[in-house]
Symmetry: C2
Subunit: 135 residues, 2 copies
Amino acid sequence: MPIGTDVDALLASHDISSTQQRRQIARILFARPQHLSAEQVLEQVNAEGYRVSKATVYNTLGLFSRKGLIREVVIDPSKVFYDSNTSPHHHYYNVSTGTLSDIDATDVVLAQLPTIPEATELEGIDVIVRLRNRD
Amino acid sequence: MPIGTDVDALLASHDISSTQQRRQIARILFARPQHLSAEQVLEQVNAEGYRVSKATVYNTLGLFSRKGLIREVVIDPSKVFYDSNTSPHHHYYNVSTGTLSDIDATDVVLAQLPTIPEATELEGIDVIVRLRNRD
DNA sequence: TTAATTGCAAACATTTTGCAGGTTC
DNA sequence: GAACCTGCAAAATGTTTGCAATTAA
């Protein structure tokens, strides 16, 4: 099964031209649902024997995120995570372990939303539930 | 009116010993409701003619935040904002301008919360409403 | 006076940039 | 072949650290 085809279609559907490096990075991001930092993406690409430069990883993640292929999750200022799950959902963040995990959108119900200020429109709502390990 | 007295009481009530630099930084943070980055705090302190080193600003903001005097708000990966409003509330983040503003807690009602995973306890919930300027 | 705090400068980590060379359509 | 993309190394952030000097209680 030509995995490359899927990735190409995915990139094309988001108006991203296909290159070796982008395919490689996309393959890793979409291999399974996960939250990866730029550094982890770089590691995994290189672990598979391919080589993509650091700058390209950053550029590509930024591009994917602008194009809506992945979603940036900002939780810890020291690192941005990229989430290949772009469907509406929220996150648990375990502050003891630094682990990020998904919360299904249906498990969080916002009964009431604040008014949206003049001249702006809603881009999205992030709910982050911070947890601590009980000791 | 001896402003210093208020700040001293504030620090003391949070179990923080009072020093010139800490008073100076607290004065700025509590002058009005605002969201400042470490760099902005440093600028404002220096603008008032006092001098506090960069390291002390970072140390002090971290200390204040650990002691519950201020709250860390992580939204923009490039910098942490410190919010002198520690009462429960959420944030608007205007992605077009990078501006952060408060949403009163009563304007956001979480009707349903996800279950808290085994062996962990809730540390807090952040709701970030991302806005975009309408063009 | 004795422990805590500060300033400095250097170290770090992460991300961005400039530009020469390579790739894609 | 023209526009776009990539790699490298250097630069730009933002934050932390080690340690000697200063300040607080």
